[in-house]
């Protein structure tokens, strides 16, 4: 009997709930695995998928979004060993799982904390309600590979945004494996889209894209690239999250800032009855 040949995995992109190869057909090597090298057109396709998913995801009830994020945590727990095998420390996987649960809990609470009734001088109810801004481009931090990624994706989508994530070029395996978790956890296709490859190829396209509403530059370490991206983003007044110059402590309490900076506030005036 011949010896069995092991099945090796190709790490592909995650766009619209599917796992396509890059349209350019290119790949690069990370930890002895082939990883897709996304092109400008893959970025475009990802934005189209993200835009198509906005209506359903932003329109879902906050409770439903919370359930789905919790489901992601469940699936991640089940794949713990797979991440450990990729070199992610076990306690980081646990922290990432807990982070999904933490954000899942915020889905129906954030509007109460961040919105509400405003006191006004007149016979009106005046209500402010936070709403998702739309499609968010996210540059994921390089380290910690999993916890950092989860900490930028979860706050963007919990409020109803959809995201196009440029995974860190040095740590794409955890990102693609997380995509497999997302694909099996009732998250509608297109809510999270993940591109692997070189940042200077995909991110400027996302920053300049007129159909992207916000960009999170957390993972950009080159200050010149960050400045250039901010200039591109100004064209259609995207919301921009700047990278923190001193770096992030991803194990600390995340706070509400990442969620609230990707929201729009709708304020409604309604006459009071007599």
């Amino acid at each position: 009997m011949s010896e069995r040949v092991a099945v090796r995995k190709t790490y592909k992109l995650f766009i619209g709930g599917k796992f396509p190869r890059s349209e350019s057909g290119r790949s690069y090597l990370v930890q002895d695995s082939n990883v897709s090298l996304a092109s400008r057109k893959d970025a475009r396709d990802a934005v189209v998928a993200a835009r198509a998913a906005v209506k359903g995801w932003a329109g879902a009830t906050a409770y439903n979004r919370g359930q789905i994020l919790y489901r992601v945590a469940e699936m991640l727990e089940g794949r713990r060993e797979q991440f450990v095998a990729l070199g992610v420390p076990a306690d980081e996987v646990d922290a990432a799982t807990d982070r999904w649960v933490w954000y899942a809990g915020w889905s129906d609470k954030l509007p109460q904390v961040y919105g509400g009734a405003n006191p006004v001088a007149g016979p009106y109810f005046n209500l402010s309600a936070p709403e998702p801004t739309g499609v968010v481009a996210v540059v994921a931090p390089e380290a910690p590979a999993l916890l950092g990624l989860v900490s930028v994706i979860a706050p963007a989508i919990v409020t109803g945004n959809t995201v196009v994530v440029a995974a860190s070029p040095a740590a794409p395996l955890a990102a693609v494996t997380l995509a497999e978790v997302l694909a099996t956890s009732d998250l509608p296709g297109g809510v999270v889209n993940i591109l692997t490859g070189r940042l200077p190829e995909t991110v400027p396209t996302l920053a300049a894209h007129m159909d992207v509403n916000a960009i999170d530059l957390t993972g950009v370490t080159d200050p010149e690239l960050a400045a250039d991206l901010e200039v591109k983003a100004a064209e259609n007044l995207k919301r921009v999250l700047r990278p923190a110059p001193q770096g992030h402590d991803w194990s600390a309490d995340p706070g509400l800032g990442r969620m609230t900076s990707l929201l729009e506030t709708k304020t409604v005036w309604h006459p009071k009855g007599v």
Partner: protein
């Protein structure tokens, strides 16, 4: 197509006089190789059109658009806005060409005519109890005359599919001839509604029937049935107009309509036109797209080429 190529011109004009002659001719047309047509259309769809060629294709496609609204909810305000968009599709860019025509219901023609007066944009109106065509002939003809009097210079008629499928070809033929007469100087586009004809052989027969009866354009669909324009159906129709010109010397236009939503789709059609009938048809007088949402996608792609930045639908009008 040796059978038709060898037909004398005089023979073809006599066909309409008898049901038998018409049937013999239409059923004598060679059958369509279904697999071959679909494979050919799919293969032409894989051509890559980039940079300057793409820019030219986009501008040509914009000039070929019949900007269409055929809804029960159409209002004078809505069709006026559509006509204004037809004149100047991209207000931010004066170099953007105008579209080929505006296509509306007969009742909306006067409002569009006000806006388009003096421009090079044509005004098309559907008629002959669009979309079913199931009305007495007199009513269909009155419908046509009313549209022309109101200012339409192109009429999109539907053929009588009930009669066609029942094999009563001369009835269909006579209706087209009568409608053509009612049109006067207006161009007549004949809608075959290929989604209801079931086979490519029927599409080829209906194309020849419409051309023999005097149609200036043959159009795939009304857009009101689930199956609208497809590449293989358009291929069959393009072959028919090519062979018809070879046999009679008269050139007939083709208009795929319904379901063409993206620039990519439109460019596939243009490639097919060029490869099947040649550059003679690559002009708004001979090829049109019946579409509504296609125009915005063309404009977005055009903006992408001029600015280098992907455009978003937020920056173009909702129709």
């Amino acid at each position: 197509m040796t059978a038709t190529a060898t037909s004398a011109r005089s023979d073809l004009s006599e066909l309409g006089r008898s049901e038998t002659a018409l049937r013999t001719f239409l059923h004598g047309l060679p059958g369509v190789d279904q697999v071959g047509a679909e494979q050919r259309a799919a293969q032409l769809g894989t051509r890559s059109i980039k940079t300057t060629a793409k820019a030219e294709a986009i501008d040509l496609a914009i000039r070929m658009v019949d900007l269409t609204t055929l809804e029960g909810a159409d209002t004078p305000g809505k069709v006026r806005a559509l006509a204004a968009k037809a004149l100047r599709p991209d207000p931010a860019d004066p170099s953007c060409p105008h579209v080929g025509a505006v296509c509306v219901y007969p009742a909306m023609v006067p409002y569009v005519a006000e806006v388009l007066r003096g421009s090079a944009v044509h005004l098309a109106s559907v008629a002959t109890s669009f979309p079913s065509g199931q009305a007495p002939l007199e009513i269909k003809l009155a419908d046509t005359r009313a549209a022309v009097e109101a200012g339409a210079d192109e009429i999109d008629m539907v053929i009588n599919r009930g009669a066609f499928l029942a094999g009563r070809y001369s009835e269909v033929y006579d209706e087209i001839v009568a409608t053509k007469h009612a049109c006067g100087d207006a161009h007549l586009k004949v809608i075959l509604e290929t989604g209801e004809l079931a086979t490519y052989d029927n599409v080829r027969r209906a194309s020849w029937l419409a051309m023999l009866a005097g149609g200036d354009f043959i159009k795939t669909s009304t857009g009101k049935v689930p199956v609208a324009a497809t590449l293989p159906v358009t291929l069959v129709m393009l072959e028919a107009v090519r062979d018809f010109r070879a046999a009679t010397g008269r050139q007939v236009g083709v208009k795929p309509a319904g379901g063409i939503k993206t620039t990519k789709d439109a460019i596939k059609y243009l490639v097919m036109v060029n490869e099947t009938v040649g550059p003679d048809w690559l002009h708004p007088d001979w090829f049109r797209f019946g579409a509504s949402s296609l125009l915005n996608d063309l404009l977005m792609q055009r903006t992408k080429l001029t600015t280098g930045v992907y455009a978003g639908p937020d920056y173009f009008t909702l129709d």
